[in-house]
């Protein structure tokens, strides 16, 4: 069986991190979300994968290439305008081929476990099958109203509570879906949505079914949700110190994994789960606490303290820094004594709406250049490519490309 992964959208709610890459490329446990998805498909022996890409597609193609390194055979197809999931799936038609009876569609920006994929395959019936999972809070999701396995209605972001079964955006379709997509009308929001195609099928008395999974399915709606997802996924981390070098006098507790040519210098104290990528230089005397992931080519200088954070590739953290509950984008550099304050139950404004974050330090976009003795007040974000002079306190969001003097 083949799979189509939808990976063309930006994921605006995860800005500033998605200003430079699509949401599918945001790292959780040091792997892009999309890599978790591909791994789960491959574990189910689904190796022919069609990636529908669009926004910042080069970053995706550079990472996955033709898929062989991930045990898959990846074909790329570009969705030039992001005008809906149904339109995206239609782009993949020529790669599915007419001999394939059915195929899977999965969102590239949700972490889905291998068992969830097999739940879908094993539970599939009828003309189309939706994979659902139960959530207490269904705001922000589409829900499924079903009678037994039979889907009666698909409702996007319901105002009142009608169901706890949310649509994971994972489907098993038959060949006929393409013709139905072509008949799907454009929605009021100007998109061709696959949920509208499903509703069309239900209205035409076709057999749309659903199957429930109780296994891992994670959605990072906002960038700070990445930290929660990171904690969950790092729960499965295994210790691996073979590829790098750990100097004498380093104390490692719990599960810690380090990549090739990475060195952990003397006096460092690391409590897992912590995963560190390739070519990193950590320490001496650095403290890293759970649940932290650090990308490739990152330097963390002495006496710094990092807790429950995601540090992306090519980052340089100078001495005496304190980073907690934060996400630091690629190619960020910070001067000495960089401090992120952490806060609880914060309200964070995104596009004029307030959203709550349980616990957060800061989110820093790619390419930010931050001086020494900078303090970022809890919940304030620094956008891409901004420069902050030494000694500043950041008490409001810093827009992209700005200079704080």
């Amino acid at each position: 069986m083949k799979a189509v992964i939808l990976a063309a959208g930006e994921g605006k709610r995860c800005r500033p991190l998605t200003l430079t890459r699509a949401k599918v490329m945001l790292p959780v446990a040091n792997k892009p979300i999309l890599e978790h998805v591909i791994n789960s498909l491959v574990r189910n022996d689904i190796k022919d994968i069609i990636l529908v890409v669009g926004y910042k597609k080069e970053r995706i193609m550079d990472h996955f290439e033709d898929g062989v390194a991930f045990g898959a055979n990846i074909e790329y197809i570009e969705q030039k305008a992001q005008i809906g999931t149904a339109h995206a799936i239609l782009q993949a038609r020529k790669f599915i081929g007419e001999e394939e009876e059915s195929f899977i569609v999965v969102n590239g920006d949700n972490i889905i476990g291998p068992d969830a994929i097999s739940d879908l395959i094993n539970g599939a019936e009828g003309d189309a099958t939706v994979l659902t999972c139960k959530k207490d809070d269904v705001t922000n999701y589409g829900v499924i109203v079903a009678k037994g396995k039979s889907v009666k209605e698909v409702i996007e972001k319901p105002k009142t509570l009608v169901s706890h079964l949310i649509n994971t955006g994972t489907y098993l379709f038959r060949q006929g879906i393409f013709e139905l997509i072509e008949q799907t009308a454009i929605s009021t929001s100007g998109e061709y949505a696959i949920t509208d195609t499903l509703q069309l099928m239900i209205d035409n008395d076709m057999d749309v079914t659903m199957t429930i999974t109780n296994t891992e399915w994670l959605d990072a709606v906002y960038s700070w949700n990445l930290l929660e997802a990171n904690t969950i996924v790092l729960g499965d981390l295994e210790t691996d110190l073979e590829k790098g070098k750990v100097e004498e006098g380093v104390d490692l507790k719990g599960n810690v994994s380090i990549g090739s040519n990475t060195i952990i210098r003397a006096g460092s104290y690391i409590v897992g789960p912590v995963v560190i990528g390739d070519n990193c230089d950590i320490g001496p005397n650095v403290v890293i606490l759970p649940s932290t992931c650090i990308g490739n080519n990152v330097s963390v200088a002495s006496f710094s303290y990092i807790k429950n954070s995601i540090i992306m590739n090519d980052v340089r953290i100078s001495t005496h820094s304190n980073i907690s509950n934060s996400v630091i984008g690629s190619n960020v550099s910070t001067g000495p004594n960089f401090i992120t304050e952490e806060g609880k139950d914060l309200l964070i404004q995104i596009e004029k709406e307030l959203h709550s974050a349980k616990k957060l330090g800061t989110i820093i976009g790619d390419d930010a250049d931050i001086g020494g003795n900078v303090l970022v007040r809890a919940g304030n974000m620094i956008f891409t490519n901004s420069r902050i002079s030494s000694g500043k306190t950041i008490a409001e969001d810093v827009p992209a490309d700005s200079i704080v003097i």
Binding site: I60, E65, V68, I74, Y76, N297, S299, D314, R316, D366
Partner: protein
């Protein structure tokens, strides 16, 4: 360049040979052909692409043994009769290289009654092999080939088949690359491992003056005295898959985008920031030897030569070593004054560049120590140099060098820092600043790549111009040369790179309002100077495109278009500027609809002189 392939085993030979030939396409070719044993030797060849070759082979042709060839014309025009394989009654031969004494041999063979079908040097090998196999009561294919190559002057990698010994393929090598691939019940030979990497990663690199036989289950290798040579197999760690385009329209764009990763592979495990040093264990030079060095000579061709100019400036600035930069094809025929205490640094992506190899041989013959900077593990230069620094950029398929160029620059920075530290020319702190700047390059290159749309706009705007000038000073001079080379290679626009100070000594006469001038104007001690050069060309109404730092707030006042690169250490700016100019060339060629990955008349690795 020409490429040869051979297959013997239990599978169908044609698909394997065709596929292998396609993998050699990047070397550049104008004609192609195969010989297959289908009860008797059958040969098919065309002047044109491999696709056309596939069309002329009837589907009924089957066989488990065959040889194939892609030809890049040197002796004789690209015509079907000049395409390989070349035949002599029951014999078929493919060859990469040049036979210098072919005219003399040809006359002799004509005297013996042989008729020539082609203008090539290779055909003499076929007839000579036929002649030798029929001497002294008949020789075997292997014996015949041994006698034949003894009479050849020049370079060759040969694959040969004979109707009567169709269970084997004979091969021989001198000065042209040849590698054997070992499969299970299937064996392969080719000019380049990429040809059969899909089938096996176990290989044997054949040395000069070795000859042998390929059978389905065994490989035999002999020296010229007929002694059997036992050789260990090596495992290739490249993934062929990396050689596929993976969503990109062209290999070149894919390779440009690989640079954040490829340069990280180049410096991985070698930079020691805290100690302020670069570890190059594979250099095999003691601190005393490094201190004694008086002079270095960098030898290279093409893009590698441009990298070499930067190398010269770096060795002089960071290591205090007087350094010459030589074009390999000139060095050999000039009269280099060598006393044996020099360091020879040869830069060649493929490790097979004929002129560079010959230049290294001539310098080592004076007792000079040689360092090779190359991308290809096991290539000829790695066996002929005292030490090898690998660029580790992975296979590059696009004919225009991109990621291998920046990887060469990184190796040169690392070498210069290493030598400079050993000689006490730079302090640990200065070295640390450079190392930090190198480590920041992957993220900064990513930032340059994210500006592709702006660069594309600039490229489209000037794509219809006939001439382009690239100017730069000091470290930006090689950037200007490489920028011009890239542009002319793939977009066919006439482009010249100049040291900006040289403009008024002639080329200024060519500047009009129709010539865009790219000025590489990153910050540094020549910044003020390049500004005055910009004013010079502006006064001649030229449109000026500047490559400038993010930090530069002045430059807009002087130029028409600015391509921005992240600010870095002055010495490291050439890496970022080069990436920006690679994109400029790519998008210019794209706007002109040129054959980007295989420009006309060019070959990836030039294995002939």
């Amino acid at each position: 360049m020409c490429g040869i392939v051979a297959y013997i085993g239990d599978g169908q030979a044609i698909p394997v040979l065709i596929d292998s030939l396609k993998m050699l396409e990047y070397r550049g070719y104008d004609s192609a052909g195969v010989t297959i044993f289908n009860d008797t030797l059958e040969t098919y060849k065309v002047a044109g692409r491999i696709k056309e070759l596939e069309k002329v082979i009837p589907e009924s042709v089957k066989g488990n043994v065959g040889i194939g060839h892609t030809r890049w014309a040197t002796h004789g025009k690209p015509e079907t009769r000049n395409a390989h394989p070349h035949l002599s009654s029951n014999i078929s031969v493919v060859h990469n290289g040049i036979i210098e004494n072919y005219l003399e041999l040809k006359e002799r063979l004509i005297g013996l009654g042989y008729e020539f079908q082609s203008d090539t040097d290779t055909e003499v090998i076929a007839h000579l092999l036929h002649f030798n196999m029929n001497q002294e009561g008949g020789r075997s294919l292997l014996e015949g080939l041994k006698e034949t190559v003894k009479e050849l002057n020049g370079s060759y990698a040969i694959g040969a088949m004979c109707n009567e010994n169709a269970d084997m393929i004979a091969f021989a090598r001198k000065d042209s690359p040849l590698v054997i691939g070992i499969g299970k019940g299937n064996n392969y030979a080719a000019s380049d491992v990429t040809a059969f990497l899909k089938h096996t990663k176990e290989v044997i690199f054949i040395n000069d003056n070795e000859i042998g036989l390929l059978r389905p289950d065994s490989i035999e290798i002999y020296d010229m005295e007929g002694n059997s040579v036992s050789r260990d197999t090596e495992t290739i760690e490249w993934d062929l898959e990396a050689a596929e385009k993976a969503g990109y329209e062209h290999f070149m764009l894919k390779e440009i985008h690989e640079q954040p990763t490829s340069i990280q592979n180049t410096f991985a495990g070698k930079l020691s920031e805290l100690e302020g040093n670069v570890t190059l264990e594979e250099l095999y030079l003691s601190k005393e030897e490094i201190k004694r060095l008086k002079r270095a000579t960098i030898i290279a061709c093409g893009t590698s030569w441009n990298a070499g100019i930067l190398g010269k400036y770096l060795f002089e600035k960071l290591a205090g070593i007087h350094t010459d930069i030589e074009t390999a094809s000139e060095f050999r025929y000039s009269n280099p004054v060598l006393c044996g205490e020099e360091l020879t640094i040869a830069i060649t992506q493929s490790g097979e560049t004929a002129d560079t190899l010959a230049a290294v041989r001539s310098s080592t013959s004076y007792g000079c120590r040689s360092i090779a900077i190359t991308n290809v593990v096991g290539s000829t230069i790695t066996r002929e140099s005292d030490s090898v620094l690998y660029t580790r950029a992975g296979p590059e398929i696009g004919v225009a060098a991109t990621k291998t160029f920046t990887a060469q620059l990184i190796v040169l920075y690392m070498l210069a820092i290493n030598l400079g530290r050993a000689r006490g020319v730079i302090s640990a702190d200065e070295a640390k600043d450079l190392i930090v700047a190198i480590k920041r390059l992957p993220g900064q290159i990513q930032k340059v790549l994210s500006r592709k749309d702006t660069i594309n706009e600039c490229a489209v705007q000037f794509a219809d111009k006939r001439d382009y000038f690239f100017i730069g000073r000091y470290l930006n001079f090689p950037v200007a040369l490489e920028g011009a080379l890239k542009l002319k290679e793939i977009s066919y626009i006439h482009a010249e790179g100049y040291a900006a100070g040289e403009l008024k000594h002639g080329p200024l006469a060519l500047i009009t309002d129709e010539t865009p001038v790219v000025a590489i104007a990153t910050k540094g001690h020549t910044y003020e100077k390049i500004l005055s050069n910009i004013k010079e060309v502006k006064a001649r109404n030229a449109t000026v495109i500047a490559v400038a730092d993010d930090d530069d707030t002045e430059i807009e006042k002087y130029v028409d278009v600015v391509i921005r690169v992240p600010s870095t250490h002055e010495l490291l700016a050439p890496v970022l500027s080069s990436v920006a100019l690679q994109l400029l060339s790519y998008y210019t060629a794209l706007a002109k609809d040129c054959s980007i990955d295989k420009p006309r008349n060019l070959a990836k690795s030039v294995t002939v002189e």
